[in-house]
Amino acid sequence: MMMEETLLTELRRVLGDRILSHEADDVPTIGIKADDLYEIVDALYKDEKLAFRFLTTLFGMHYPAEKGESERLGLQVLLYNMWTGQRLRLTLSFPIESPELRSITPIFPTANWMEREAYDFYGIRFAGHPNLKRILNIETMTAFPMRKDFPLEDLSRDDKDDRMFGR
């Protein structure tokens, strides 16, 4: 499905060729480069017309290695313009070996805990975050449990055979 033309024109005016891809199934979505995250969020915030000045939510993703594609981590950012009711989703991914992003907490204070959650569960590190430590899991944990390779079941249990269920 195509994105509404006016929104796309406005996004192109502000972001130029930093839009890698776009689609509009449900929430209009643009794909961006991981390195551009801070600048793009900042530009969308400051632009008088687009004015995406409310961060609805932000969360990590994990894309396991598939044929021909290496293992990647991702981030989804849901922005909102409260005056027009316009939503926008930014999606980006990066190799799992270098999970480094620039924190957007200086723009949105609310990103603080969301970024901590993304770090806690996916191991995404946010440069410039004021207090990047685990939030929901125990501090001594070493794994990043929302990654697909982290097992849900306790591996020491042999009374449950879960091959029939789940993926």
């Binding site: 199934d25 993703m61 849901l78 204070p109 609310t110």
Partner: protein, 410 residues
Amino acid sequence: MATPTTSLPGVTQLASGPDEKGYFTLNLGPTHPATHGIFQNILKMDGEIVVDAEQTVGYIHRAFEKIAERRPLYQITTLTDRLNYCSSPLNNMGWHMTVEKLIDLEVPRRAKLLRVIIMELSRIADHLICDSIIGADTGALTGFMYVMEWREYIYEIFESVCGARLTTNIGRVGGLERNFTPDTWAKLDRFLKDFPKAFEEFDGLLARNRIFMDRTMGVGPISGERALAYGFTGPNLRAAGVDYDVRVAHPYSLYEEFDFIVPVGTAGATYDRFMVRQEEIRQSVSIIRQALVKLKDEDPSVYRAEAPEWVLPPKEAVYSAMEPLIHHFKIVMGETEVPVRQIYHSIEAGNGELGFYLFSDGGRTPARLHFRRPCFIYYQAYPEMIRGALLSDAIVTMSSLNIIAGELDA
């Protein structure tokens, strides 16, 4: 310590030396009754003044987002029960609507209206708890005991619809699991007749009570700008003067047809939050009344969509006919084809915008499900709101924010 010197018999003088001022650390929680849930606040105190605070969350983290990646869509409803457990039906309905959006299923008009009734009852229960707890934390326990009866009564209505009270698992994808019974309608009638009176009495106990006003006005304030920066939604944002309500901004389940007021406060303080919730309870009652009027034009036998591959068939049919048995099996085992889509749906829950981001890759379970939990997002602002306040104000600020541990930790 210097030995006290006595100049006169029986008079003790203070020790000499500079009058040193020190801070001390106070652990509020994790299991303090005043926090109404398992979370900790490490407060830096100067006497009775809060200098700084740091929250520790995650004590009841149950990895719902991880568990959801291993469950068919139907089985995730029970996880949503346990988010904001003061208003489980709202979470359940939000989830059903997310799935309906994913599979593009249109719910019959009457089912939507029945859902509105359940959702608004649930909102009333949620707000009643919050408002009466503010009273209890300021020392007025009477109101809490008084409205608890009505919260119980709302739970009885849920019980007669779905059989459960707290973790309701109410409704199904495509509508409701069963029609409202005559008992439900009778209970609803009694509720609409007697609750408003009891509620106004409760309101009279607190809203213009001088002691209560002194304890809550201007306590724990936040400006509209800061509230937006912190991602506030729901009554807490509206108390700060921003009239954002998902029911109005992005209507779902026929809310666009209802006539209701979105109350806003001015100072974003505890009293504003209390008053906003009080008015929302009145508006919810009015929405239920409007829904009852709209229901008169509907066929009373319809309560769910005709979509056999998605809507669980009645149990009698499963045991006696082939087709329903097949559909039942396929639905329960998650064998029905789902489209590959990424969608976001949000509803106005008790505490604000409860969002579900659902990434379906065509498998039987979601590839990723993220809950936007309003509590988790706005609780970040708590230290900023209580800096410089008294300890007792910090506690009443927390209860007016309506932090629910289940929603906070997911």
